[in-house]
Subunit: 147 residues, 2 copies
């Protein structure tokens, strides 16, 4: 069940939903890494435990960020897709990565530093649009999925 | 003590530091609401418990986001100021509020909906710059505080 909202502040209200170790990591795995099944999420570098993953996927669905569905030809495996509301988190993800890139290298020298960061450094808004666009194209999505 | 980084992903690394219920709420209280003392933080709408506040302020200091200092004429009260690295979270805060404003009103009809959201809706980057600029001016800051 979604937590209660602590107050009427829009900054805080987003954190009531997203403010934890995992919610945005799962959104990132879907949007940036193209993962879509429970098994794929568990095989990520972040090594999420299955019980936590189950509960976070439920919360993401309840919040309207993720849509649980199945492939037409394989009803046994659940797919977790981003809704429009989930894809709208692209700029937030980009701000997280940008801040890490600028400020966390001293604390975390091993952090990835590859060519894919170039677009992010050059133009954050363009990078966010790119992430959302690639996701839509890959999923063969019409412009919008409503939860 | 700061948590370990889970992996080398820049998206996830930011969440290793910031991904919880409180860290960004405290940054927001400082940047947006102008709070700077322990007492002021406890008097916020979010009603943070004092033991949690203490531990989060320590983490914010360790991460280089907040600088603990005192007024020249009153050494008894600690002030918590944002460093440059902390002020650089302005665009992230703005993305949180923007996403709430666009998508959480259905779940949270009481969320604030005042005139101060106009600039955010019109131009997120300008709103983030505005927040950081107002903070610097209010604190009489030279362009940068290093932790």
């Amino acid at each position: 069940m979604l937590p209660d909202f602590r107050c009427n502040c829009p900054f805080t209200s987003a954190l009531d939903i997203l403010g934890d170790k995992w919610m945005l990591v799962i959104v990132k795995q879907i949007m940036v890494e193209g993962k879509e099944t429970f098994k794929e999420f568990t095989e990520s570098d972040e090594a999420i435990a299955t019980n936590i993953l189950s509960s976070k996927l439920k919360l993401l669905e309840e919040a309207g960020i993720v849509l649980k569905t199945q492939r037409p030809n394989n009803k046994k495996t659940n797919l977790y897709l981003l809704t429009d509301q989930g894809l709208a988190l692209a700029p937030l993800l980009v701000e997280l990565a940008s801040w890490s890139d600028s400020y966390l290298r001293g604390l975390h020298p091993g952090m990835a530093n590859g060519a894919e960061l170039e677009l992010l450094r050059k133009d954050k808004a363009a990078f966010a649009e790119h992430l959302a666009k690639v996701y839509r194209e890959k999923r063969g999505l019409a412009p919008v999925i409503e939860p």
